[in-house]
């Protein structure tokens, strides 16, 4: 346990001093503010364009802006934040292979499982704090400007996206034990994501594919029930456990 926290502490020091934390904080704060800001600016933007459009014969009717508009932005933007996050963490292990920094650590008797666990826990922690920060910021602004009551199943809807992020992180970790370089990790993850996406298009599989968790935004708009996503959540959970298991076995034998 102490070795685990010691290594997590090292991860933290590195993230702070290399500026990764600042970058992540900026990313999630910006992505939190962007959604209500975009919603707030929509009527103004339309008004600016309205005069020009009237000349071409198009008339712009009054648009109704509420919390739902802002939440729709949230679900459209957060996958982009997740993508940037994943790119930033694609080298979480491979950069250490490249530099050889794990060799003295393993030679000191640190168990490889603990190295993997601290990497996984730290990455998941950054995602957790970052994601819910964005959520909190959007929620706060929405409550101030409009009424969050307009959106249904808010927490569950967000949780779907959050869980998808955890699943993606477990894939990054798995590919980090299979590949030797960051680009290998990205390639493996992208190919697997594409395969899951394509399989998710099949009617028999669509309820089970973790990519379905990206569609929870429909819930907020009032269509469907949370139980529609139970199967995809369960599959993601089992898949995360499997990724961690395979990664642990694979990392035991990894040439570092």
């Amino acid at each position: 346990m102490r070795t685990l926290t010691a290594f997590m502490h090292k991860e933290w020091i590195e993230s702070v001093r290399t500026g990764k934390i600042t970058l992540l904080a900026l990313l999630f704060v910006v992505f939190g503010i962007m959604n209500p800001a975009a919603a707030k600016l929509t009527p103004w933007l339309l008004k600016q364009m309205a005069s020009g459009m009237a000349e071409t014969g198009l008339s712009v009717s009054e648009v109704r802006i509420d919390a739902l508009t802002s939440w729709a932005q949230f679900y459209k933007n957060m996958p982009m934040a997740l993508l940037i996050f994943a790119l930033a963490f694609s080298g979480v292990l491979t950069s250490e292979y490249a530099k050889g920094t794990l060799i003295p650590i393993v030679a000191k008797g640190m168990s490889r499982r603990n190295i993997l666990a601290s990497k996984g826990l730290m990455t998941a922690a950054y995602w957790t704090v970052g994601f819910w920060t964005s959520y909190g910021i959007t929620y706060g602004y929405n409550a101030f400007f409009w009424d969050n009551g307009a959106a249904a199943h808010l927490t569950f809807t967000a949780f779907g996206l959050y869980a998808f992020g955890l699943w993606l992180i477990s894939l990054l970790l798995l590919f980090s034990t299979l590949a030797d370089s960051g680009s290998g990790v990205i390639l493996g993850t992208v190919l697997l994501l594409a395969a899951v996406y394509l399989l998710g298009l099949l009617p028999t599989l669509q309820d089970y594919a973790p990519v379905r968790l990206l569609e929870t935004a429909k819930l907020a708009a009032g269509s469907g029930a949370p139980s529609d996503y139970a199967a995809a959540l369960a599959v993601a959970a089992v898949w995360i456990a499997a990724n961690i298991g395979i990664a642990a076995l694979r990392f035991d034998r990894k040439k570092i």
């Binding site: 102490r2 070795t3 926290t5 010691a6 290594f7 502490h9 090292k10 020091i13 590195e14 001093r17 290399t18 530099k99 050889g100 920094t101 060799i103 003295p104 650590i105 393993v106 030679a107 000191k108 008797g109 640190m110 168990s111 490889r112 035991d252 034998r253 040439k255 570092i256």
Partner: protein
């Protein structure tokens, strides 16, 4: 049987190419053990097998009596390792890195504090407050020794610790290793033979994955020659040298003032001294030359 490290018939090949073949040796406590060979002789591979970073194909390795296993390697708690080009986390300071190592090996805060201060002083880094990113190679090598000695290992493995350093840096590292020998057994790999001669008690010579010579420094050296000694006599003038040679025609001229004599008889030196005394030749120096490890190595490697 209380050798710190025992290798028995260890072999390893990569893709059909045998890199290490039937290597056996043992290192006893408080011994500086030289592990000598050219680049590519199999030194690093052997060391990585001892650390469980590579699996051995055949044979067995024991550290403090415990068998080494690949992957999960609990025997590493007995070992301190200094890689050939040590890489540490650049954004940490030396003290922070030692604290990380200390916590990994289960030391408490007070022990870490005390040991870090002691070792940073030993390796001369007590005043280095900057981050490791800004360290020179020699500084990293010294931090490497400090981290390797942190948890009082019974075996210290140093992979070519002096190869990348300038003469002054090399001298410092060798002095450090000699000091460290009082606490631990040391396996020291090198292809710089003068370094080995300076500090090692015992050694093995590895060539193309096999051990070709082993023993104490004296044993290895004496095995190299069939008891033929080379004696060298130096005079103060060429004239004296010429006079000496008229009485000792077997000698050959080495430099304008010195002569060399090959002597298989232990008492050969007495004959020379007798001639010097009888003919009133005040030689400046008379010396029995030891074969250098360098010559021995060349002999072994080139046949």
């Amino acid at each position: 049987m209380n050798d710190t490290l025992i290798l028995s018939k260890v072999s390893k090949s990569f893709g059909g190419r045998t890199v290490v073949e039937g290597v056996s040796f043992s290192v006893s406590p408080q011994t500086l053990f030289g592990f000598i060979g050219q680049n590519g002789a199999g030194k690093t591979t052997t060391m990585k097998m001892i650390l469980g970073l590579l699996p051995a194909d055949h044979g067995e390795i024991r550290v403090n009596g415990e068998k080494v296993s690949f992957g999960q390697t609990p025997t590493n708690r007995h070992i301190g390792y200094l890689p050939d080009v040590p890489e540490f986390y650049g954004s940490m300071t030396a003290r922070e890195y030692l604290a990380l190592c200390g916590r990994i090996t289960g030391m408490n805060a007070a022990q870490i504090e005390r040991k870090s201060a002691e070792l940073l002083h030993l390796v001369g880094l007590e005043k280095a407050a900057s981050r490791i990113r800004g360290f020179s190679r020699g500084m990293k090598q010294r931090l490497g020794i400090a981290q390797a000695l942190l948890n009082d290992p019974s075996l210290l493995i140093c992979d070519e610790p002096t190869s990348a350093l300038d003469p002054l840096g090399r001298k410092e590292i060798l002095e450090l290793l000699t000091l460290a020998k009082q606490r631990t057994a040391i396996l020291f790999s090198s292809h710089i033979l003068s370094d080995v001669e300076r500090v090692c008690d015992e050694l093995v010579l590895l060539h193309q994955g096999k051990i070709v010579r082993s023993g104490t420094l004296e044993q290895v050296k004496s095995a190299g020659r069939d008891r033929i000694d080379t004696l060298e006599v130096e005079f103060r003038s060429a004239e004296e040298l010429a006079r000496f040679r008229t009485h000792f025609p077997r000698s050959r001229i080495e430099t304008p003032f010195t002569a060399r004599i090959e002597e298989s008889d232990e008492d050969g030196i007495l004959d020379i001294m007798r001639i010097l005394a009888e003919h009133q030749l005040p030689a400046k120096r008379i010396e029995k030359l030891e074969p250098s490890l360098e010559e021995l190595f060349a002999e072994t490697v080139h046949g």
